[in-house]
C-alpha cells in the first residue's frame, strides 16, 4: 500500500513526536550527565581472577555500574584477560560474549544477563552446527599424576563432564567458540576459550592452590549422575585435611578416615572392620587399582594396609553402584594408587614409634614413564623390654606398594601395580594348648592397558591377581600349621563411549577364577603329630557382562541406568555334603577335577535418577540389586580379624541378594562453602547368613551345615553438614539406622537385631589451619553400643557356673565414643622444596574404655588381675568383666618430603 503524502505526514506527525521525545530524552540524558562512557579506554591485566572481581575492576576503571544476578552470571568463574587502552564496550564484548553473557545499557547501568541457550544452532542462521569433540588428559602440574573427577564444564551451555579414573575426559560440542572451565577442589581453575572447528585434544596440567601436601580425593560416587557442576556426593579429603586427621598412633589411615562419614560405621578401637548401611563386614569390596584386597588390616586392625602416600584417589559406593561394580552386597571402595612423579624425583617418609614408611618416586623417562614405591614397616618389638611376665613376643608387619606407569604412545598407557603386605605375630608361651603364632599375607598385582580408539571411545583392559592367606602355627618350627586362603585371577575389559554430552555409554566383560581353602592343617615336622582331616576346597569361575548409560536430560535431570549380568560356576575337585532338615549329613558327592557342579545367574538392574532443583540443590532417588557369591564365614563378635574362612555359593549356600532404594537431598550454600546432605535408604537382604549356636567353622569339613539362612532388612537416614573452605573446616555427620534379621533355626525363628546394629552414629571432625606453621584438628565419634546376648541366669555343671540366655542380642554394650586430637607443626615453609613437620597425636584423648565384650567367668586374684579360675573346688567370687582395647595412645611422628 502506497502512502500518499498526507498520510505520510500524518504518520510523521504521529511518530515524530515520539522520536523527538526520544531524542529529547536522550539529549536530556546527555545534559543530565549520563556518566557511563563506554568508549572510555581502559587497560586490564588479570590472570585466573573471578569474573565478579574483574567486573569490579572494569567498573572502577571505566566508571560504570553493573547490575546483574549472581545466580545467572558465573561471577566465581576464573578468567584471564589482557588489554591495553581499549574501549570499555569492546572489553565487555570480548569478555562476556564468549561466556554467553549479553549486556545492555539501561539508564545509568549496564545490565548483564545470560544469553538464551543456543545449543548447537547457529545464532545467525538457526541451522544445526557440526559437532566436534574436545578430549584429553588432566594432570597435576607438579607431579604429572592423573587427576580424577575434574569438572570440565562449558561456561555458556552449562554442559560438562568429569575425568575418569585415568584422568581422561571427552566432551562433544558444537562447532564454534566455547569457553571451557576445568575445575578441581584444591587446584586453580583453568579457563580456555577456543574456536572449535574439528576434534581437538586439550590436555592440561592444573596447578595446586593448597601448597604442600598432595591431594587424595574421595568420591562418594552415589551421586555421580548429577550434573558435573553439581556433584555434592563427592567427599574430598584434601591433602592438608588428610594429614591433619588424628590417625591411630600418628599414622593417617585413609580407610579409617571413612569411619568419619555417615553411613559407614566402624567396629571401634583397633579395628579395620566396617559396616555400610546395615551390611556385614564381608559385604564390602576393597580394591587397589582393580585388584581385590581381602583383608585390609595390619596388626589385627589397628592399621590398614593402605599406605597414605601411595593413594591418589578413593571412590566409595555405599550400595548405589553403577553397573560396572559389584560382587559385594554393601559397598565398593575403589582406590587408585598414585602413578609416581613424571617430572622429577621425590622422596618422603613418616617416622613414628610404632611404624614408619618411606616413599620414593620419579620419572623413568621424563613425561613418558614413572615409578612409585612405598614401603612401611612396624617397629614394635622394642615393647618386649617392658614385658615382665612369661610370654615374650615377636610382632611385625610390613607392606609394599609399587607402581610403574608408561605412556608408550599418545593413545596408550600401561600401568603395573604391585602390592604385598604381611603380618606376623609369634608368641612363645607355656600353655596347655600350644600354638606358635599367626600370620596373614596379602598379595595383589594388576597390569592395565588404556587405549584411546578415538576421542570418544576409551578402553581399559586389566589383568589382576589377588591372594590372601591366614596361618596359625602349630609347631615351633612353623612347619605345621592351619591355613585358610582365598584368591582370584581376573581378566576384564571396560569400554567408555562418550556418545555425546548427554550420553556416556559403558560396557564391559570379565572372567575370573577363584580359589578358596576354608582351612586345612598341614604337618611337616615331628612335633605333636595331629590327626588331620580334609576340609574341601573350592574352585569357582565368574563371568560378567554389563552395560550402562549415564544420561543427562536438559540441565536438571540425569539418569544412570544399566544392567549387570554375573554368572557363577563351581568346579571340582571337591567334596560336597548334603544335609537333611536337621542339618545332619546324609550324603557326600565327590566332584572330579574341572567338573562343573553348580551354576548361578543373577541379573542386577541399576537405576539412579538425579534432579537438580537449582545450581545449589538436588534430589536423587535410586534402586540397585546386588549379588554376592563369595562370602566370609565367621561368627566372631570381636573387633579383630581372626582366622577367616571364605566360601562360595553352592548347593548349601545360596548367593546373598540385596535390593536397595535410596532418596537423597543435597544442598550447597554460602557460596559453596557449606554443604548439606540428607539421604535415606532401605535395604532388603535375601539368603542372609547366620549361624547355628556355637557354630564350628574353624576346622570342620561339614562347616556348611553350621550355616542358617534367612532374611534381613536395614533402613536409615544419613545427615551431613560440611564446611569446605577457610581456616576452620570440617563436618558433622549423624546416622540413624537399624538392621534386623530373621533366620529359621536362630532365636526360635523370631526377628532379632544384627550384631552390628547401631541406631545412632555421630562423627565430628574439625580442623583449624593457621596457614603458617601450626594446624590443629580433632575428631569425635559416637556409636550406640553393639548388641550382645547377655545372660538371664546361671546354672552349675561340674564346678562351672554356666550362663544361659533368652532372646538373641537382647542387650547392648555401653555406647562407644572417642576423641582424637592432632597438632602439626611445620618445621619450614610449605613452598620449600624440602618440607618436614612434626605431628603429635593423641588417640582416645580422654581414655574412654570402649568395651567389646562382657563375660562372667573371671575373678580378681591377689595381684589385681582378672583371671579364669582353674581350681574347680576353689572358692571364688566371679565378677562381670568387660574388655576394651585402647587406652590413651600418644604418638609423635616426623614427616618429610622432597
Amino acid at each position: 500500500m502506497q502512502l500518499n503524502l498526507r498520510h505520510r505526514l500524518s504518520i510523521l506527525f504521529k511518530v515524530a513526536p515520539l522520536r523527538i521525545t526520544g531524542l529529547v530524552l536522550i539529549f536530556m540524558f546527555c545534559l543530565t550527565g549520563f556518566s557511563q562512557d563506554l568508549d572510555r579506554k581502559i587497560s586490564l591485566d588479570v590472570k585466573n581472577m573471578p569474573l565478579g572481581e574483574v567486573l569490579q575492576q572494569i567498573a572502577r576503571k571505566g566508571e560504570i555500574r553493573f547490575s546483574y544476578s549472581s545466580n545467572s552470571i558465573p561471577i566465581h568463574q576464573n578468567i584471564s584477560y589482557r588489554c591495553r587502552l581499549k574501549p570499555v564496550r569492546n572489553v565487555l564484548n570480548e569478555i562476556l560474549d564468549s561466556r554467553g553473557i549479553e549486556w545492555i545499557e539501561v539508564e545509568n547501568q549496564i545490565i548483564l544477563k545470560k544469553r538464551p541457550d543456543q545449543q548447537n544452532k547457529s545464532a545467525k542462521t538457526g541451522r544445526t552446527l557440526p559437532v566436534h569433540v574436545i578430549s584429553g588428559y588432566l594432570r597435576e602440574n607438579l607431579t604429572g599424576e592423573a587427576l580424577i573427577g575434574v569438572n570440565v564444564v562449558t561456561g555458556g551451555l552449562g554442559t560438562g563432564t568429569t575425568t575418569n579414573e585415568y584422568g581422561f575426559y571427552s566432551l562433544s560440542l558444537s562447532q564454534g567458540t566455547h569457553d571451557v572451565v576445568f575445575s578441581y577442589l584444591g587446584f586453580g581453575e583453568d579457563s580456555r576459550t577456543f574456536d572449535l572447528q574439528k576434534d581437538t585434544v586439550i590436555s592440561i596440567d592444573l596447578h595446586e592452590t593448597s601448597l604442600g601436601m598432595r591431594e587424595v580425593v574421595i568420591h562418594a560416587r552415589d551421586n555421580e549422575q548429577l550434573p558435573a557442576v553439581n556433584r555434592p556426593g563427592d567427599f574430598n579429603f584434601s591433602g592438608a585435611t588428610l594429614d591433619r586427621l588424628p590417625g591411630f598412633a600418628g599414622d593417617v589411615d585413609v580407610l579409617k578416615a571413612l569411619q568419619l562419614m555417615p553411613g559407614i560405621r566402624s567396629y571401634g578401637d583397633g579395628s579395620s572392620l566396617y559396616y555400610v548401611r546395615g551390611g556385614n563386614n564381608d559385604q564390602n569390596l576393597l580394591m587397589i587399582d582393580e585388584a581385590t584386597i581381602y583383608n585390609p588390616s595390619h596388626l589385627f586392625g589397628f592399621y590398614s594396609v593402605l599406605a597414605p602416600d601411595a593413594v591418589n584417589d578413593m571412590e566409595i559406593y555405599k550400595g548405589d553402584f553403577p553397573a560396572r561394580y559389584g560382587g559385594r552386597a554393601s559397598s565398593v571402595i575403589n582406590i587408585t594408587a598414585r602413578e609416581g612423579n613424571m617430572k622429577h624425583f621425590s622422596f618422603g617418609g613418616n617416622l613414628g614409634p610404632y611404624a614408619s614408611s618411606l616413599t620414593f618416586e620419579g620419572p623413568i623417562v621424563k613425561e613418558k614413564a614413572s615409578f612409585l614405591i612405598s614401603g612401611r614397616l612396624s617397629t614394635l618389638n622394642w615393647l618386649n623390654y617392658f614385658v615382665d611376665d612369661a610370654g615374650s613376643f615377636d610382632l611385625y608387619f610390613f607392606d609394599i606398594n609399587a607402581k610403574i606407569n608408561v605412556k608408550p604412545t599418545r593413545k596408550d598407557r600401561l600401568f603395573l601395580t604391585f602390592f604385598t603386605g604381611r603380618d606376623r605375630f609369634n608368641r612363645f608361651t607355656n600353655s596347655v594348648y600350644r600354638t606358635y603364632g599367626i600370620s596373614w599375607d596379602n598379595l595383589a598385582a594388576t597390569l592395565r592397558w588404556n587405549h584411546l580408539f578415538n576421542p570418544k571411545l576409551f578402553s581399559n583392559t586389566t589383568l589382576s591377581f589377588s591372594s590372601y592367606d591366614y596361618s596359625l602355627y602349630l609347631s615351633s618350627d612353623r612347619k605345621s600349621y592351619w591355613q585358610s586362603s582365598i584368591g582370584n585371577f581376573t581378566l576384564k575389559s571396560d569400554f567408555t563411549w562418550f556418545l555425546n554430552p548427554m550420553n556416556t555409554l559403558r560396557a564391559g566383560m570379565a572372567v575370573s577364577r577363584y580359589h578358596s581353602n576354608p582351612g586345612n592343617i598341614t604337618q611337616q615336622g615331628d612335633e605333636d603329630q595331629l590327626e588331620v582331616r580334609e576340609v574341601a576346597k573350592y574352585t569357582s569361575m565368574e563371568y560378567l557382562l554389563y552395560l550402562s548409560n549415564e544420561q543427562t536430560i536438559g540441565n536438571r535431570l540425569s539418569l544412570n541406568y544399566g544392567i549387570r549380568l554375573p554368572v557363577w560356576q563351581n568346579f571340582g575337585p571337591t567334596s560336597v555334603y548334603f544335609f537333611d532338615a536337621n542339618f545332619t549329613p546324609i550324603d557326600t558327592v565327590t566332584i572330579g577335577k574341572n567338573t562343573s557342579y553348580d551354576i548361578f545367574l543373577s541379573p542386577e538392574p541399576r537405576l539412579s535418577v538425579g534432579f537438580a532443583i537449582d545450581k545449589s540443590s538436588s534430589l536423587k532417588v535410586s534402586y540397585s540389586r546386588t549379588t554376592q557369591f563369595m562370602q566370609q564365614l565367621s561368627n566372631a563378635t570381636g573387633p579383630f580379624t581372626s582366622l577367616e574362612v571364605w566360601a562360595p555359593a553352592g548347593p548349601n549356600i545360596q548367593p546373598l541378594k540385596t535390593d536397595q532404594v535410596t532418596l537423597g537431598y543435597f544442598l550447597k550454600f554460602a557460596s559453596a562453602r557449606f554443604f548439606f546432605s540428607a539421604e535415606g535408604f532401605y535395604k532388603y537382604f535375601r539368603n542372609h547368613i547366620d549361624y547355628t549356636d556355637h557354630a564350628n567353622l574353624l576346622y570342620n569339613p561339614l562347616l556348611e551345615g553350621e550355616l542358617r539362612f534367612g532374611k534381613a532388612w536395614a533402613y536409615g537416614l544419613e545427615l551431613m553438614l560440611r564446611k569446605q573452605a577457610g581456616k576452620l573446616s570440617g563436618w558433622v555427620g549423624y546416622t540413624w539406622s537399624r538392621t534386623r534379621m530373621e533366620t529359621p533355626g536362630v532365636n526360635g525363628g523370631n526377628p532379632y537385631p544384627a550384631s552390628f546394629d547401631s541406631p545412632h552414629n555421630i562423627c565430628i571432625f574439625l580442623s583449624y589451619d593457621t596457614r603458617k606453621r601450626w594446624s590443629f584438628s580433632a575428631n569425635w565419634l559416637f556409636m550406640t553400643g553393639n548388641p550382645i546376648t547377655s545372660p538371664v541366669g546361671f546354672y552349675q555343671y561340674n564346678g562351672y557356673s554356666v550362663p544361659y540366655y533368652g532372646e538373641k542380642n537382647n542387650d547392648r554394650l555401653p555406647d562407644y565414643h572417642r576423641l582424637d586430637l592432632s597438632v602439626i607443626y611445620r618445621l619450614n615453609k610449605p613452598e620449600n622444596r624440602f618440607r618436614h613437620s612434626l605431628a603429635v597425636t593423641l588417640y582416645n584423648a580422654y581414655g574412654r574404655a570402649n568395651p567389646f565384650s562382657v563375660s562372667f567367668n573371671k575373678y580378681q586374684d591377689g595381684a589385681g588381675n582378672f583371671v579364669v579360675p582353674s581350681n574347680l573346688n576353689g572358692d571364688y567370687e566371679l565378677v562381670p568383666t568387660m574388655i576394651s582395647v585402647a587406652g590413651i595412645i600418644p604418638s609423635i611422628n616426623y614427616q618429610f618430603k622432597f
Binding site: V432, S790, F866
Partner: protein, 274 residues
C-alpha cells in the same frame, strides 16, 4: 604415662584392658532344672546333682529335692536315692557300673514333670602321665602339660586331683584349701576362642603332693557339649569372642546340663624334685 605404656603393652600382647563392671541379671524364674550327671565304668557310688538356675554366677543354687531319679538299660534299672546330707544329690549303689555297647537312659520326675536323657560309653585309653614344672621364684610347682588339646578320634576330659593337705605344714590347715581339682580337655575341634583363651589362674602345689590324673572318655555328643560349655565359661572373654548362646543338652525340654557315660582310666604320681 605408666598407664599409657601398660595399655600399649596390653594392647600388643592381646590381653586387652579388662575391667570389672556392673551387669545386673534379671531375676526371673526360667522353669528349668539343671542336671549334672556322669556315669562311669568305675565300681563306686555315682552321684547325680539336680539344682535350679540362679541369677548370679556366685549364688548357691537351690537343690531340687524330692525328685525320683532312675537309670535304666534294656534289661536293668537302678533307683537313685537322695543324699540326706547334701540335698539335690542323688546317689546310686555300687552295682551301677557302666559297660560298653550299652545304652543308658536317665529319667527324672519332679513336681509332676518328666525329664530324660540317653547316653552310651566309648572305650577308655591308657595314657602318659602329665608334666609338671617348678615355678620361677618359689619352690612350688604347676601343671605344664596334660594331653594334646586336639584329637579327632579320641576326645577326653582330664580330671587332675592334687592333694597336699597331708604334708607337714599343711596338715593343720583346712583340707579344702590344700586340695585342687583341675579339668583339662582333648577335643575333636578347634576354636579361635580356645586358641586365644583368656588367662587362666595358675594352681601351685608343693613337692610331695599327690596327683591323681583321671581320663574320662567322651562320646561325640558329650565332647560337643564340653566344647560349648567351655565357649561359655573358660574361653569366654577372649580377644576373639564369638556369639553367646545356650549350651546344647541331651536332656529333654525343661532341663539343661548333660547326662554322660564315660570310661575312666587313672594313674597317680607324687610330685618330686625337678
Amino acid at each position: 604415662m605408666n598407664r599409657v605404656i601398660v595399655n600399649i603393652i596390653l594392647l600388643v600382647m592381646l590381653a586387652g584392658c579388662v575391667k570389672q563392671t556392673e551387669w545386673p541379671v534379671p531375676d526371673q524364674s526360667s522353669g528349668l532344672i539343671s542336671v549334672n550327671a556322669i556315669l562311669t565304668d568305675e565300681q563306686r557310688i555315682h552321684s547325680i546333682t539336680i539344682t535350679l538356675p540362679v541369677s548370679e554366677p556366685n549364688a548357691i543354687p537351690h537343690p531340687v529335692t524330692g525328685a525320683t531319679v532312675l537309670i535304666t538299660t534294656a534289661d536293668s534299672l537302678w533307683f537313685l536315692t537322695e543324699d540326706s546330707v547334701h540335698p539335690g544329690n542323688y546317689l546310686s549303689d555300687s552295682t551301677l557300673v557302666a559297660i560298653l555297647n550299652t545304652g543308658y537312659t536317665m529319667q527324672i520326675n519332679w513336681e509332676e514333670k518328666n525329664y530324660s536323657a540317653q547316653a552310651s560309653m566309648v572305650p577308655g585309653e591308657v595314657f602318659n602321665e602329665l608334666i609338671y614344672k617348678k615355678n620361677e621364684g618359689d619352690d612350688l610347682y604347676h601343671i605344664d602339660w596334660v594331653a594334646s588339646a586336639f584329637s579327632v578320634d579320641n576326645p577326653a576330659m582330664w580330671e587332675v586331683l592334687i592333694d597336699w593337705s597331708f604334708l607337714p605344714g599343711f596338715d593343720t590347715l583346712d583340707p579344702a584349701i590344700c586340695r585342687a581339682r583341675l579339668l583339662f580337655y582333648t577335643l575333636p575341634t578347634l576354636d579361635v576362642s580356645q586358641i586365644f583363651a583368656p588367662v587362666v589362674e595358675q594352681t601351685s602345689f608343693p613337692i610331695g603332693s599327690v596327683i591323681t590324673e583321671r581320663r574320662y572318655s567322651l562320646a561325640p555328643g558329650h565332647a560337643e557339649f564340653i566344647r560349648q560349655l567351655l565357649l561359655e565359661t573358660n574361653w569366654q572373654g577372649s580377644m576373639f569372642p564369638t556369639a553367646n548362646a545356650n549350651v546344647i543338652t541331651n536332656l529333654s525340654p525343661g532341663a539343661i546340663g548333660y547326662f554322660g557315660v564315660c570310661a575312666v582310666t587313672e594313674l597317680s604320681l607324687v610330685v618330686e624334685l625337678r
